[in-house]
Structure formats: C-alpha cells, structure tokens
Amino acid sequence: MLVNCGHRINPELRELVVEASLALARLDAERLEELALACRALNRDFAGMGGDGRGELRRQAHDASREMDIFGRVLNATRANLEVMNRVRERRRGGLEYPAWRSTGWAPWPLTEKCDGND
C-alpha cells in the first residue's frame, strides 16, 4: 500500500511504475486496478504536501523517468495488441453469425409459401 509517511513516499515512485509495467505485461488486471486506486490516493495526498515533500517527489520523479518511458511504451504496445485482438474478435463474430449463408448462399429457413397465417 502506498503511504505518504511525512515526507517519505513508500514505496518509491520508481518501484510503483516498474510494478505497473510488469502487471501490464502479464495482463494482471486486478493488480492494475489496485494500483490505479493507489495512484488516486497518492494524488490526493500530494495535493496537500508541503515544500519538503514536493522536493522529495521531484527526486523520485526524476529517478522514475526512465521506467515511466518503458511503461508508456508497454502501454502503446498494449493498445496496438488490443486493436489486433479486436480485429480478430470482429472477424470471428462475423464468421460465427453467418457461416452457412455466406459459404453456400443457402438460407436455413427458406419461405417457399406465405407463412402469415392468411392463406
């Protein structure tokens, strides 16, 4: 759990970013959702932080900048992967819904006479 103990942010931002990258790589949605909640709490804590705390945050932000770059790239790759998977899913849906008609041109329930009950 992320705790702002006075001026000390525990754990360091760098560790947080690394964990988020790893969780995203293995698609650990549960852990990512926990991290998202923790980040919101962290953000609220920082809003009321004093000058020393901000200085400490600046140091941690600097230390974590490279890991943040990696996280951004993994996120971009995930977006591309998601697009690919959506294309795969759409194609499969199309294939599942209309297979026989598309392949044979034959409709499963051809109406050869009026079926409205009026004949």
Binding site: L24, R54, D69
Partner: protein, 477 residues
C-alpha cells in the same frame, strides 16, 4: 423421401456429428501439452433440406472435419513483435559488452579502456609537473610513461572493440544456416498444406509451419503473404523473396571489405537485414552502426590528442637546445606519438614513438633549456578544444555518456517489446492453444488491464510532470 425415414436420418446424423465432435475434443485433450498444438473446433454443416408436399424441412447437421482455432492476424502481430524484441535484445547484449569495456575499474577486460579518462588527466598533468622543473629527467620520463599508458589503453580499447565486431560478424554469419533450414522446412510444409487445403484444415501441418515462422521471426525480419490454397510466401522486410510457396531461396554469405555480407542470389540484402529485425538485425545493427560509432569516437580522440601534442612539441625546443619541425622544418621530428595520417585507424595505431625523454620540448622556440613555456602550452592542451572542438576529457566523457544513453534506450525498447510479446503470447495461448479459458475472458482481461493501466499512467504522468517541471502543482484535477 418418407417422413419417418427422414426424421430417423436427421436424428442419426446429429448423433454421428456429436460423436465426431467428441473425437475432436478428445484429440485436443490428448495434445494439451504438445508445444505449438492448436486447438481444433469441429466444423458443422447444415444438411440440404428435404421437400415434403412442397414444404422444405431441415435435415440436421453433419460434422465435416475440424478446423484449428488459429488466427493469422494475431500470429503475424506476434511474429512482428518477436522480430523487434529479438533485434533489440541482441543489440543490447552487444552494447552491454562494449559498455563494460569502458566502465572504470571494471577490472575484467584488461583493455584499460575504462581508464582512458584518468589516463588523459594523468598525461596532461605530467606536463604541469614538468613546468616546475623542466630539466628534471624523472619528470620527463613520467611524461613518456603516461603517454605510453594513454596510447596503450586507447589502442587496446580499439582492438577489443574490433574483436567484438569480428565476433558479431561470425555470429551473424552463423544465423544463415538456421534461416535456410527454416525456409526450406516452410517451403516443404507449404507444399503439403496446399495439397491438403482448401478441402480441410491442415491442422498439425499449419501448427508446424507457424512454429517455424515464429523461429524464423526471431532470426530475421520477414513479411508473410498468403497465397492460393493456404500457401505462403515469405520475403525479407524489403521484399526479397525467401520462400515462394513450395520453393525456397537460400541465403548465402560472402566477404565484402572484410565483413560478412548476405545475399539472396546475387542481391546483397545486408542493409535490408540490418533494418529488418530478428537477432540477425540486432547483430548487424551492432556490427555496422554501433561499433563503427564507438571506433570513430576512439579514432577522433586518438587523432586529436596525437596531432595536437606532436604539433605543440615540435613547436618547442628540446633539452639539447634543438627545435622541432615547427621551428625549423629541416630539423628532426620531435613527435611523441605515432603521427596519424588520417582519423580512421588512429586509435588502433596509437603508440609512443619517442624514446629519448630529452626530446620533450619543454622550452619555447629558441629558448634556453630552463624555459618552461612550451611545457605550459602542452599542459594547456588538456583544456583546449583539440578533439572535435572539445577538450580530450570532455570528449571522452561525452562519448561514455552517449554510449550509456544508447544502452539505456535500447534497454527501454527491449523491455517494452518483451512485455508486448508476453501479452500476445498470453492472448494467443488463450485463443489458440488447448485450455479451458474462453476467448471472451481473455479479451476482457486485456481490455481491463489496458484501461486500468491507462489510468495509472495518466495519474503518474501528471504527478511526475508537475513535480519535474513546476515542482508545485501535483494533484490531477
């Protein structure tokens, strides 16, 4: 057709189809642990309807075989990511080995490359020491000693980097045999698959081809083109054909200017492979881009120091009262270092040619042996822009910093690419391999993960940007 017999046919057909489907399921379970096996799904076909008294009735379904659950869009995306990850991983290994050479006090290489920075300082400081007592023999010996150390470490470093380049060259050449074996296997599988399709799914054959494509993607960058009857053509990323359905075009190698080049037929595809990806792309990028940059920096350093120091020493007067060629062109040379003819090759060739310490021209032109004005000028070279406009120490420091930045950048790329490959493999396993996870569950997991990660990224990015840029505003509104 009579009604009862039609109904019986319908029921028995459904039972047969169920039985066939059970066989497919049992085949999936039996192969659950077979690497690369793709789950098969039964194909259902609606039977032709029968007409009774002018009304058509359906006659059930038949099972017409099994189709493997694979998706080429996903497989191609996975292959592309593997190509990128393999290239950056291979390049990273090569860069790490070079960076280790230039790490101070690494103590592991014996090249002394990590000591070049302190060598430079030590060499120019030896002139500062000579300023105080320009006729002192021990101080003159110290100048030659530090010069020898500096030249030796630069030369050794260049030789070590050249050795690494030669090793990369050999490893790159070794990839060709693996590539050719895989393209030949894929061509053969293409022929078998094409003779099987389109009547039925080629199942295991397609699994084998997909595995070979995956292996090939880790070696070189490729493009895939699906051809008639489920065949496949494979080209390099620049379009050079490696496999055309059931025939393959093997790669060959040959030496061009001392390094291995790669050919298909008579076409040199080396630069295409370098940019293409896979481990071969990584080897070639390190061999043809990264290492030449390192060598060029060492050459510039050696050329700058040797040329400036020689010129300055020849502008002074030695302990015997003789001026150098800068004073009188007819005089013997007072070069300290082997004079480089050109920048290229200066590092490897760097050495100390001066053997007599009395030839160090501490005195200015036509000055007495007690003068130190030229020694002062020599010491001042250490802070002058004699290497590509920068001082020797700054130039070397910048070079090491740039090398470290390049390593960090490739490390970042590689980490992200590996993460992407991990994701895709998880998705591919859920979709294609034999397990009980549903495709929808896998998709939901991917979407949830992406959305949650986007939130994490957005909040952290804002916090960090605020902290770094302004240092005050931190909360995300």
């Amino acid at each position: 057709m009579g009604t009862i017999s039609s109904a019986f046919s319908l029921i028995s057909g459904a039972l047969d189809a169920d039985q066939s489907a059970l066989s497919v399921v049992s085949n999936n379970v039996a192969n659950a642990n077979t690497p690369g096996y793709t789950q098969e799904m039964p194909n259902w076909r609606e039977n032709n309807p029968v007409s009774i008294n002018g009304i058509q009735y359906g006659t059930g379904v038949s099972q017409t075989g099994a189709t493997s659950v694979r998706d080429r869009i996903l497989a191609e995306r996975l292959n592309q990511q593997q190509q990128s990850a393999a290239a950056s991983g291979t390049r990273l290994s090569a860069l790490n080995a070079i960076q280790t050479l230039f790490t101070p006090d690494s103590g592991s290489t014996g090249s002394g490359a990590g000591d070049i920075g302190s060598d430079i300082t030590g060499f120019f400081n030896s002139f500062s020491a000579l300023e105080a007592n320009p006729t002192n023999d021990a101080l003159r010996q110290q100048v030659l000693s530090t010069a020898t150390t500096l030249a030796g470490d630069i030369s050794n470093a260049a030789n070590m980097v050249n050795s690494q380049r030669a090793a990369l060259d050999q490893e790159a050449a070794g990839v060709v045999a693996q590539v050719n074996a895989l393209t030949a296997a894929i061509a053969q599988l293409n022929g078998q698959i094409q003779s099987t399709s389109p009547d039925k799914d080629a199942g295991v054959l397609e699994d084998q081809r997909q595995q070979d494509l995956s292996k090939l993607s880790q070696l070189i960058g490729i493009n895939q083109i699906t051809t008639e009857n489920n065949g496949l053509s494979i080209t390099t990323t620049s379009g050079q054909t490696l496999v055309s359905e059931n025939s393959d075009s093997p790669m060959t190698t040959g030496l061009v200017n001392g390094v291995t080049h790669f050919f298909v037929g008579t076409v040199d595809i080396t630069s295409d492979l370098s940019a293409g990806g896979g481990s071969l792309g990584g080897y070639l990028t390190a061999r043809d881009q990264d290492i030449p940059q390192v060598l060029n920096s060492l050459d510039e350093l050696a050329y700058g120091i040797a040329t400036a120091v020689n010129t300055q020493n020849n502008a002074g007067t030695n302990l015997n009262g003789v001026g150098g060629t800068g004073v009188n062109p007819a005089n013997p040379s007072l070069d300290i270092f082997n004079a480089p003819a050109a920048v290229a090759g200066s590092a490897v060739a760097m050495s100390v040619v001066m053997t007599d310490p009395n030839n160090i021209a501490a005195a200015g032109p036509a000055a007495g042996s007690g003068d130190n004005s030229n020694a002062v000028a020599m010491a001042g070279l250490g802070d002058s822009g004699i290497v590509n406009g920068g001082s020797p120490s700054n130039f070397f420091s910048n070079f090491v910093t740039m090398l470290g930045a390049t390593v960090a950048q490739v490390q970042t790329e590689n980490t992200a690419q590996n993460a992407s490959v991990t994701q895709l493999q998880n998705q591919n396993n859920a979709l294609s391999a034999v397990n009980l996870n549903d495709e929808a569950v896998a998709m939901q997991q991917l979407e949830r993960s992406y959305q949650a990660a986007s939130q994490v990224f957005a909040i952290l990015n804002t916090i960090m940007a605020s902290a770094l840029n302004m240092g005050v505003q931190t909360a995300v509104s």
